[in-house]
């Protein structure tokens, strides 16, 4: 490990001492950073015929114009500093709210009416907010039936939100059918908690 670091330092030093080469070489840097919850995913870097998986916090590669990708040892603050204005321009994470209708009606349950207040508070916090209304169903019925039903639920919620004063151009409705259950069930199971509408404010 220490040897590797030493070799890397030598390599960096060697690079630094040979700027006489007149050919400009654009280098690239890619680094994985943890999300706000600390979660680190993975990015696969394909370059120069090779593939490298970056999946550790702040793991980075310096890619040269010839496609070679070498590990770059960077501390978190260095990355934060180098990318400060870029990271500051990242839009706020979408916020998600789940609402339920009274059975057989297009009227929200009392709890969901309170949740709707939170949606409006979230809308006020964001510049130029837009909304995705996503309908979900339980597993009663086939896929295409539930796709239509979930979209109809989302459309109904969209109309409700337009009535509440949100410009219609800012709301999109979508139906996920029975693909994203809140409570896992077997097929053809009636489950009120799965008959819901999710509102994503972004």
């Amino acid at each position: 490990m220490r040897i590797a670091a030493a070799i890397l330092l030598l390599a960096v030093a060697a690079c630094a001492e040979t700027p006489k080469v007149p050919v400009p070489v654009a280098s690239e840097l890619v680094a994985v950073i943890p999300g706000p919850d600390g979660h680190v995913g993975a990015v696969v870097v394909y370059s120069g015929g090779t593939m490298q998986v970056l999946d550790q916090p702040y793991e980075a590669r310096r890619v040269r114009a010839d496609g070679s990708a070498l590990p770059e040892l960077l501390a978190a603050p260095e990355i934060s500093r180098a990318f400060r204005s870029t990271l500051e321009a990242l839009p706020g994470r979408p916020a998600s709210f789940t609402l339920y209708f009274l059975e057989g009606k297009d009227e929200l349950t009392n709890a969901s009416r309170a949740e709707m207040e939170k949606v409006f508070a979230e809308l006020k916090r964001r510049p130029a907010p837009d909304i995705a209304v996503i309908g979900h169903t339980d597993t009663v019925g086939n896929l295409s039936f539930n796709d239509k039903l979930s979209l109809a639920r989302a459309e109904r919620m969209r109309e409700l939100m337009i009535e509440l004063g949100i410009p219609q151009g800012r709301i999109q409705a979508a139906g996920r059918g029975k693909r994203e259950l809140l409570v896992a069930t077997e097929d053809n199971v009636s489950e009120p908690r799965n008959r819901r509408v999710e509102i994503s404010v972004r």
Binding site: P19, E28, D55, L90, R93
Partner: protein, 152 residues
């Protein structure tokens, strides 16, 4: 029956109108321009983004975009970011997102399509391709002219 048909065609229309707008500019600081069909317009907060748009920032510019699958992309100063391809099915979450950072800096947070199919989001740079398996990452493409400062 006829009513149903009208309902269905209205849905198709709504879907095609939404398919054009794939996201929105949520942050625009300093000099930010969007290139669309050969014309350049100053980016404003709330402006819709379309596939094949190119976002160009000046020395004091930075911009942030939220896409329809909830993925987030921001670019820093002196950057050129092209959206090469974007497709997202809001029902199945299938899709593909290909963008190119020609120069400058980019930060990205992947969204729903990557959760559905890893590596469906790809960011190209002049010498590599980054396929996203679900994470937050940053990319920088140094300008050849600025190599001594940027290469450190």
């Amino acid at each position: 029956m006829r009513k149903l048909w009208i309902f269905v065609s209205a849905l198709v229309f709504a879907a095609s109108a939404a398919a054009n707008d794939i996201g929105q500019i949520k942050v625009a600081k300093g000099d930010v321009q969007v290139e669309r069909s050969g014309a350049r317009v100053a980016a404003t907060v709330g402006m819709p983004v379309r596939a094949t748009d190119v976002v160009v920032t000046g020395a004091n510019g930075s911009a942030g975009i939220t896409f329809s699958d909830n993925s987030l992309v921001s670019v820093g100063p002196n950057s050129v970011f092209a959206i090469d391809k974007y497709r997202f099915d809001t029902t199945t979450h299938a899709g593909e997102f290909e963008g190119s950072l020609r120069k400058g800096k980019l930060a990205a947070v992947s969204g729903k399509m990557v959760r559905q199919s890893p590596e469906s989001m790809k960011i190209r740079t002049p010498s590599s391709v980054m396929a996203v398996r679900g994470t937050e990452f940053v990319v920088q493409v140094d300008e050849p002219a600025a190599a001594p400062a940027a290469a450190r």
